[in-house]
């Protein structure tokens, strides 16, 4: 605890780079994570999210830059750092050769947690994720949502000070996703520092205090979700399907932030925009939808609408 007070920055990354051959997966990013904060890294596929966090949990050596976790240098004190981090990988890498309970107990062994203590923690975590009734089942018999929760429990077995989650709810059904969110929210409320990557905007908006949007290995913007929305997508959005040329001209001549797509016009407005109100009244009949601006608008405006494959 004393160390945490001396180092309010749980993560302090400066000019971090990761190069594979002549491809820079992470191209000089700097950010920090404060104690007790939930920081989200957003970006399209291949933006460098996973490469970034793999360096932080010590599975991937950085090419250059400096990286301190808990105020310690990852290059020198990696073992101490790794012992205080919990990681949920993107891929399910539970141990299929072991039962639900054994998965937690054996994992505790990697952290040199004594056996009795390990069993106690495992039982407590199984209750936390509501899987105690499945403790002796094989992990392959669990549903996708249950496996995710077990991965989360496994990441908590060493009572980490920092939880790192790589796309924690990808591939889950809405019920399971919300259950995972609820657990994460609970952990966040308890003061755990969390770093997560996601491409679900809803997830980022729901869980994260602060966001970093990255693309091509570089940070595009960072800030609080609400601030980012206000700054990059305004407050209200009007989507117009098949807009006529009169409307297009009107929008182009005005000062509105807008995106003109093939068959759709998206106009971003602030609350105080009277013209925006006027446009809504004047031009919109049936082909308009007015809605609140979301993080997804911010994301698509900043990273573009091209497919990432």
């Amino acid at each position: 605890m004393i160390m945490m007070e001396r180092h309010p920055h749980i993560i302090d990354a400066r000019d971090l780079r990761k190069v594979f051959g002549d491809f820079a997966a992470v191209d000089g990013i700097s950010f920090h994570l404060l104690s007790g904060e939930c920081l989200g890294i957003l970006g399209p596929n291949g933006a460098g999210k996973t490469s970034t966090i793999r360096m932080i949990y010590g599975s991937s050596p950085m090419t250059s830059g400096s990286l301190q976790v808990f105020g310690l240098d990852i290059r020198r004190e990696w073992r101490t750092i790794k012992s205080r981090i919990g990681v949920c990988h993107q891929e399910n890498n539970l141990d299929p050769d072991l039962s639900v309970l054994k998965n937690l107990e054996v994992f505790a062994g990697y952290f040199s947690i004594p056996r009795g203590e390990a069993t106690q923690r495992a039982e407590k975590l199984l209750r936390f994720i509501a899987l105690d009734h499945r403790r002796n089942d094989t992990v392959t018999s669990l549903s996708g949502g249950m496996m995710r929760r077990l991965v989360l429990a496994r990441a908590l077995i060493n009572e980490p000070r920092l939880l790192i989650l790589d796309e924690p709810t990808t591939g889950l059904d809405p019920q399971s996703r919300h259950q995972v969110w609820e657990k994460l929210d609970q952990l966040r409320t308890d003061g755990l520092s969390i770093l997560l990557t996601t491409h679900y905007m809803e997830e980022a908006a729901y869980l994260c205090d602060r966001l970093i949007i990255i693309d091509h290995g570089k940070i595009l913007v960072q800030g609080k979700p609400k601030d980012l929305i206000r700054e990059y997508a305004g407050r209200d959005v009007i989507e117009v399907l098949n807009p006529d040329s009169e409307l297009l001209d009107f929008v182009k001549s005005s000062q509105f932030m807008h995106d003109s797509l093939d068959r759709r016009l998206i106009v971003y407005g602030q609350e105080s925009d009277h013209i925006f109100e006027k446009m809504a009244d004047h031009y919109c009949v049936e082909n308009c939808i007015r809605r609140m601006a979301t993080l997804e608008d911010v994301f698509l405006r900043l990273t573009g609408r091209d497919l990432r494959e």
Partner: protein, 263 residues
């Protein structure tokens, strides 16, 4: 670049060993079957069937039965198989399909500790299987004690040697099917031409020289010497060979696995 993460080895590798041991214990009855049944089958087929044709064999000036000749070879092959297959197919499955190594790499263990743990586990499997097989073979009076007991530590050393080679192939193989290649080019020739089922002297001289490069040749010589109670200074050469072989191939295997896992 983060060399310390990659090469640091502490006793923590035993955690990986322990994980494999827990899985092994779960189905120990099935794991115990091959080393019990295999020598029985071989002794039946080769001892009673083929042995009747071969009669006795002259080994280092002694007349021994064919079964007594091949029993140490069976033990040696068993050591090779247990370690090699554990650190090829089984390790590959854990690494590639189950992502077990990825999960462990996010804990305080280093990559080297994961790999050393795997190799030491392979050697342990070789030791367990050898202990069982030795007991079975002893029932037929084919092992001279107390020297025969030294076969146990030898099986661990042999496990390290063959496990390291297996791990090297795991580090460089593109897919699990490609293990057929080292098995066909490395394991099968050794199985047949290491003085296992006929004395090396029966081979042409050039082939004898090639056979001397095989680790299995030296292992068979050692095991045979210990089982027959014919122990001399000449055995030290084989022992030295296996130790050197391990000391060379373990770092090479570690390097191959680093290339594969640390990106």
């Amino acid at each position: 670049m983060n060399r310390s993460i990659q090469w640091n080895i502490s006793l923590r590798f035993m955690r990986v060993w322990h994980r494999n041991f827990i899985v092994y214990k779960k189905i120990w009855k099935i794991n115990f079957l091959p080393p019990i049944l295999e020598p029985l089958f071989y002794i039946l087929a080769f001892g009673i069937g083929l042995g009747a044709l071969v009669g006795h064999i002259n080994y280092q000036g002694r007349e021994i039965s064919y079964v007594a000749f091949i029993a140490p070879a069976l033990l040696s092959i068993n050591m090779m198989y247990n370690a090699f297959f554990e650190n090829t197919y089984a390790s590959f499955v854990r690494m590639y399909y189950q992502k077990t190594f990825d999960a462990i790499m996010a804990t305080p263990l280093s990559v080297s500790e994961v790999i050393v743990g795997e190799i030491v586990w392979g050697a342990t499997k070789s030791l367990i299987a050898t202990a069982i097989m030795l007991a079975v073979v002893s029932l037929f009076g084919l092992v001279q004690y107390p020297y025969g007991l030294l076969v146990l530590p030898l099986s661990f050393l042999a496990g390290m040697a063959f496990g390291a080679v297996g791990m090297l192939f795991t580090g460089i193989t593109p897919s699990i099917d490609m293990f057929n290649l080292p098995i066909f080019l490395f394991i099968t020739p050794m199985f047949l031409f290491s003085g296992t089922f006929f004395p090396l002297n029966d081979l042409p001289v050039w082939a004898q020289k090639i056979a001397l490069a095989f680790p299995l040749t030296h292992l068979v010589t050692l095991t045979r010497g210990l089982c027959l109670g014919v122990v001399g200074v000449n055995l030290l050469f084989g022992l030295l060979y296996l130790i050197l072989f391990s000391l060379i191939f373990i770092p090479i295997a570690l390097r191959a696995m680093h290339r594969r896992l640390v990106r």
